[in-house]
């Protein structure tokens, strides 16, 4: 039973990193990202491909963050100079094309077979209790990221981001190069998704294009919206709520035994969609509203 909770905790940590990344983009700056899962996938595949070929974990970590962040910067720069609302389609398109790439470029990604036997950091040092160690590792990462981002939130940089979200013209009149700030915010969020990908790949040890479906992006949106957009604590709380929901609905299977697996999965996704819409209509500030400071 305790191993079950360790697994749950690790996933909460990974989702929390993703939600924190989205929070910088949407919660702080108001930039929409419908392809978050793409940057997550970039992180996971970068580190997996390096480490299965015997490269050190530090190299995997560096590439996971750098590659996802630079692709995030590229996407942001191509789109944001002209029309902010096109970011919705460009990010969605990016994650879809990336999935096509992962499926079709066998020579690099092993296609739909995926990458197996991804090594786990410091595995040899533990004869038992490794999963607990990994949970702590992820937990420490979440804590560090949280502390940094909460400094960012009250820093001058964070204030500019929020000013852009509220009224970009005003921020521009105040002499801020809003384009640069927006690109930086988006890059930071994408890099965090890459970091989450690193922890995911080395936790599950097997990744394939099916691990990175568009639905995951929606899950993270639900987490952020439920927890409280613009609030870092809210993003983490949202990850907990999301995991509770995903696990809770798994037990539906025992209750509604007459539903097939496909129908059960569909019913669950319908609930996620309904939940997201109801949240945005009736409680847009989430459980933990943004702290005004």
């Amino acid at each position: 039973m305790s191993s079950y909770f360790i697994a749950i905790g690790t996933f909460v940590g990974i989702y929390a990193l993703l939600a924190l990344g989205l929070n910088i983009q949407w919660g702080f700056t108001g930039l929409v990202n419908l392809g978050h899962v793409g940057f997550f996938a970039i992180g996971a595949y970068s580190t997996a491909l390096l480490t299965v070929h015997g490269m050190p974990f530090a190299a995997g970590l560096a590439l996971a963050i750098l590659l996802s962040a630079s692709l995030g910067a590229l996407v942001a720069m191509a789109t944001l100079r002209l029309r902010e609302d096109f970011l919705a389609i460009v990010t969605l398109g990016f994650s879809e094309i990336l999935r096509l790439f992962l499926i079709n470029e066998d020579w690099l990604t092993k296609g739909t077979n995926g990458i197996k036997a991804i090594p786990r950091p410091f595995r040899e040092a533990f004869s038992q209790g490794y999963d607990l160690f990994y949970l702590i590792l992820v937990g420490v990462a979440v804590l560090i990221v949280f502390l940094i981002l909460d400094r960012v939130r009250i820093s001058p940089f964070g204030r500019v981001l929020r000013a852009i979200r509220e009224d970009e013209d005003v921020a521009q009149v105040a002499g801020k190069n809003t384009f640069r700030f927006k690109v930086q915010a988006f890059t930071l969020g994408a890099g965090l998704a890459g970091l989450a990908g690193f922890f995911y790949a080395h936790y599950v040890t097997y990744i394939s294009p099916d691990s990175f479906v568009p639905a995951l992006t929606i899950y993270i949106w639900v987490a952020l919206m439920a927890g409280g957009s613009g609030n870092n604590k809210g993003a983490i709380l949202g990850a907990v709520v999301l995991m509770g929901f995903l696990e809770g609905t798994r037990f539906l299977k025992d209750l509604i035994f007459f539903l097939s697996d496909v129908r059960l999965a569909a019913a669950r996704e319908i609930l996620v969609g309904v939940f997201l819409i109801l949240l945005l209509i009736y409680k847009p500030e989430g459980v933990l509203p943004e702290e005004r400071k």
């Binding site: 108001g30 929409v32 419908l34 191509a78 789109t79 002209l82 029309r83 902010e84 609302d85 096109f86 919705a88 389609i89 460009v90 969605l92 398109g93 990016f94 879809e96 094309i97 096509l100 499926i103 079709n104 568009p214 639905a215 929606i218 949106w221 496909v262 129908r263 999965a265 569909a266 019913a267 996704e269 319908i270 996620v272 969609g273 309904v274 997201l276 819409i277 945005l280 209509i281 847009p284």
Partner: protein
């Protein structure tokens, strides 16, 4: 050379199919200021409505087609009234996210009822026609004809009727149109209905031309978006022209790149437009 003309013909057919959902998408994008991704799902709803009539009730595809126009118009109006109307005062991008939530719901309702597998209509099989070495199915020629008729109807509606002029006025300059006494809410319902029906028709055509599955609408949303941007958002005629260009580009791309990346063509064009012509090709 034959291959070129074959792809060219396929491109025109794809363009015709894409043009129908692009019209409503583009007009509503301009009026409500957010991209409604649910248009892809309206297309899927249309395809499955016709499938229900065709397979379950045993009706012909023509009846299925008629039913899909009505049902999809209803779905589009219901989604607008139930979901988007409550959020009109919010930031437009919030609505884009909400529309993704609607995609999630519609797509999975279909999956819940029909499962995730591929489906086909039961339609009589005819021998393909060959003209100068280019082959064209009987269904394809009907799809081409029907989508041309629909485009002409839309053109007539928008240009000749009072209602159409009001729609265009609203899409051209929402603020001015409202000052002149055009009821925005009523127009949004009407355009949702007409746009939804057109998307439903497109779904049936796509189902006949390829296969029916719950993801079919989501898979063309990039192309619809690209068509709308290419034609200038808010222009129905632009959306139709844009769809033709996208359809042709997607099919002709097969001469150069593997077919697995066909759906990346729309995305590539969006990026090119963003870099070269942010206002599209007809406006500004």
């Amino acid at each position: 050379m034959n291959a070129f003309f074959q792809y060219f013909l396929n491109g025109i057919i794809t363009g015709g199919i894409l043009s129908l959902p692009a019209i409503g998408f583009s007009l509503l994008y301009k009026i409500l200021r957010f991209p409604n991704f649910a248009f892809g799902s309206y297309l899927t709803c249309g395809a499955y409505t016709a499938l229900a009539v065709n397979l379950v009730l045993g009706g012909s595809i023509v009846w299925g087609f008629a039913a899909s126009l009505v049902v999809t118009a209803g779905v589009a109006i219901t989604v607008d009234q139930l979901v988007f109307r409550n959020l009109r005062q919010r930031r437009p991008l919030t609505l884009a996210i909400v529309s993704i939530g609607a995609v999630f719901i519609l797509e999975n309702v279909i999956r819940f009822i029909w499962g995730g597998g591929l489906q086909y209509y039961r339609i009589p099989v005819y021998r393909d026609m060959y003209v100068l070495g280019i082959h064209m199915g009987r269904e394809q020629s009907i799809i081409l004809l029907a989508s041309c008729i629909f485009m002409l109807l839309v053109e007539g509606l928008l240009k000749k009727t009072r209602l159409g002029k009001a729609m265009r006025a609203l899409a051209d300059n929402p603020l001015l149109a409202e000052i002149k006494g055009i009821d925005r809410e009523r127009m949004v319902i009407l355009i949702s209905g007409v746009g939804g029906a057109l998307a439903g028709a497109s779904g049936v055509f796509l189902g006949i031309d390829t296969v029916i599955d719950p993801l079919m609408g989501f898979n063309v949303i990039l192309s619809i978006f690209a068509a709308a941007i290419l034609g200038g958002i808010g222009s129905a005629r632009g959306a139709m022209g844009g769809a033709m260009v996208i359809g042709l580009a997607e099919e002709l791309s097969l001469l150069l790149i593997p077919s697995t990346y066909k759906s990346a063509v729309g995305f590539g064009i969006i990026i090119l437009i963003l870099i070269l012509r942010p206002g599209g090709f007809t406006k500004r």
